[in-house]
Structures are given as structure tokens and as C-alpha cells.
Assembly symmetry: C2
Homo-oligomer: 247 residues x 2
Amino acid sequence: MRPDSARAVLSFLYTGLMNAPRTARERARAELTKEILASARRQLGEVGAPGLSLRSVARELGMASSAVYRYFASRDELLTALLVESYGEIGDAAVEADRPGDAPEDRWLGVWRGVRDWSLRNRHEYALLFGTPVPGYAAPHITVETAGRMPLVLARIVADAKRDGRLRPLTGPECPPAAIDPAMLVLLEEGAFTVEETARLILAWNRLVGVIGYELHGHLANVTADDAAFFEYTARAEGASLGLAFD
Amino acid sequence: MRPDSARAVLSFLYTGLMNAPRTARERARAELTKEILASARRQLGEVGAPGLSLRSVARELGMASSAVYRYFASRDELLTALLVESYGEIGDAAVEADRPGDAPEDRWLGVWRGVRDWSLRNRHEYALLFGTPVPGYAAPHITVETAGRMPLVLARIVADAKRDGRLRPLTGPECPPAAIDPAMLVLLEEGAFTVEETARLILAWNRLVGVIGYELHGHLANVTADDAAFFEYTARAEGASLGLAFD
DNA sequence: CGCAACAGAGAGCACCGCTCACTAGAAGGA
DNA sequence: TCCTTCTAGTGAGCGGTGCTCTCTGTTGCG
């Protein structure tokens, strides 16, 4: 067998979960993992995912590039870690923008604005999340919970509105139930939603991501004149299609 | 000054427009430009934009990698050429899927399906068009006409329906006129649309691109169970919001 | 015919991801 | 406490990339 073949496959995942590193080695490892991630995150913000290089991260930390591979088995894995981190942040942004006591319409607008603000401030991270999936690895089941936090905030608002009887009846064509994954109905607020409401929620989430992407990628140049105003309108229109009182 | 500094900046743009290359050199140049593009396109379809390399294109054509720079000044410029080509193709797909004699609702669904089919068959090209904009160059004003062909097909359908009085009055919140670029109102069917209709058209175009992107990038995994059915539903819902008779 | 423009070749630079052999030192059991 | 094992670090190296430069043969044209 090959000697010295210690790799670091997905080690960052449980490294992050370690609550109390006992030995000095473990503490050093946890610290360096964080430093690598921080440096990579900085560079991601500056040059974007395609420009991020493991070697330059290593240079910035004053270590040999090969040493980084003790912590992240590949560039893709490092990107995956940044992906998870960014999903967490955009979820946080959504949660923090929500004001659970307010009227559902105000909450809705607030969360949309919060997510847009985060995206404008972190466009390369946004591209990593919702642009072309570049990391060949992806670790789907690991990210799925984190990735779902942002849309769940939207769902919560609608669920609260529905509970309080503040949701108007939906109009428009009906979604065939077979189109939606049954697990989705359970996942979303434990069955508080009909198929139709679920479909509209999916579309609203898709719209939020999509319209921000259009703005960031320049597809709205020569199309809209005031991106913020158009975004606001989009938020209202999408909310209205879910039965919120926007018109 | 530097000797032998002949570059090929954007030469492919008018090379493509030359109708009758006179000299043998010009014919050879036009032919090789096409061959390079064809090889690059093939590789784009296989490995995607990040994996496409100028050197491997040169290898496939049996020439030195430096020779390719006589035709495309950089990798980005080659990607830009593929971008323009792909915009043309997705526009063609939309035009060909349209059946101008049919009812607007059928035309609408047909074009949506046509664009989705093209995207599923050309996912790397789709990613180049609507994913993270990787080519640092872009040449915006050159692509804007080509890029607009696909959404214009959607606009045409709605314009025809409006002319024939088959468009229901719109519901939902109103778009502030200042949000839309005035040039857009003129561009779209020469002023046939109100601000509100224009805004809805922009959103429909955004939806078409966005929902396909969600499907291609895996964001609908564990969310929808039948992507085709969900897409169909999305097309109807978006059409209905424009006043087409889908419900 | 002769000059200038041009298309190709090939070496080379700086960078990349990643692997390997090796070493200094920490961890932990006898 | 000693000794073994495991680990984190180094640096060289491989094959790849985009791109530049110099040089050469060929083509086009006055």
C-alpha cells in the first residue's frame, strides 16, 4: 500500500462540530481549518469561485500548498465548505430580516429585502450558491438542510398568515399534486399547506433567487431602470400570488 | 514597438459577416474560424465552460495552441463567441416552437416547452448564457439584440393576444413606471404594452429562465417529483398572470 | 518581382491542482 | 520514561493551463 496516504476527506464537517478539542494538536487543527476557510472566503469574495486557488490560500497563510491538503482533500471540497457556510449566512440573513410580530405583508417584504441585501453584498457567494454548480462534489444531503433555511422563512410567514386567516384564496391554474414531492408537503411546516400553496411557495422561492440573479448578472441592463423598485414590485407580485394582501 | 503583434480582437464578429471572402487566405481564415468554433462548441457541450481549454481545441485541430490566438484573442473571447452562438440557438428554438396561427395559450406553452427542451439538450450552453457570467469580456451591446430574441417571442404572443382582445385584465399589485427602462417599452412591439404588461413580461421571461435553471442545477431535487409537470404548471401560472386564459 | 502582411510553429513564463517522499515532533501505550 | 505510531508540515515534481514572444515560411498586392 502507499505510504503516508492520510487524506482529509470531509474532515472539515466534523471538525466544525467538535465542541472541545482535547489535545494541542486538535486545537491547532481546528484553528488552522478555520483560518484556511477564512482566507478562502476572503479570496472568494474578491475574485470569485473560478479565481480562488488553493495555492494562494496557502501563500496567504505562509504554508506549503501541499499542507492545505491535510485539511481539505481538494479544491472542490474547500468550495463545498464555502458553499455550506454561505448557505448558512443567507439563511441567517433571512431569519434576521424577519419580524415575526409584524403583519405578514411587512414580514414578506422585509425578508425579501434582507436576502437581496445579502446577495448584493456577497455576489460571489450568491453565484456559488445559485449559479452554475461548479464543485463536482456537492455533498447533497449535507447541504439540503442548510440550503432550506432561507425558503423556510418564507414558508413560515405564509403559514402564520394562513393560521390567522389573513390569506386570500388563490387564483390561477392548479398544480397537479403528482408534480410535487410528497416529502415536501411534510417538510413545509408539517403539512400546513395544500399542494397549490406549496407550489406557489416553491415558485416564490425560485422568483426571489431568480430575480436577484438577473440583477446581479446584468440581464436587467436596459430592461429595468430602477432595480430596487423593480425588486420591490416583484416581491409584492409574488406575495399577492400567494394570497398576501398586496393589491 | 513590439514586432509581430497582430492580434485577433473580436475578429470573429465580422469574419462571420463576410459574405464573400475573395482571397484564398480569407477563405482559409473563415473556414478555420468556423472549425475552431465547432470544436470549442463540441467541447463546451461535453465538459462545460470551466473545462474548455484553448489548448485542447488546438490539439483537436492539429495546430499549435499559439496559432489559435490568430483567430481568438483570448479564451474569454472564444467563450464570448460561443455565448453569441448559443443565444442565437435558444432564440431559434423559441421561434421554431412558436405556431403563430394557434391560440395564444397553445403558442405560449409550445414556446416554453421548446426553450426547456433546448436547455435540457444543451445544459452547458444554458449555463453559459444564464449562469454566472464567466467571460470577463462579454461585449454587451453586441449580444443584447441576439439575447433578446427569445423573450421577444414571448412578447409577440402576448401582443397578438392583446390585439385580438384575448387578454384578460391583469390583477395584482401595480408596477411603478419608473422601475422600467423607457427604452424597453419602445423595444417591445413598439409600444403595444402598458407598463404593467411589460413588467409581467419581464417576470415571465425571468421565470422561464429561472425555473429551468432550478431544474438543471438540482435545486428541485426532493422538492418536485415530476419536473416536466411542474414546468408545465409554471408555464400556465405565468401565462395566467399575463392575462392568458389558463385557469 | 519585391515588400509587407499574415499564419503558423515552438519555446518559454507563470500559474494551477495534486501527488509523493521525507522529516520533525506530538500522542499515547508499555 | 522510552519508544512506537501517527500527524502535520516541507519541497520537489508531474501534467496541465492561458498567454507571449521570436522566428519562419507563405500569401497578397502594388
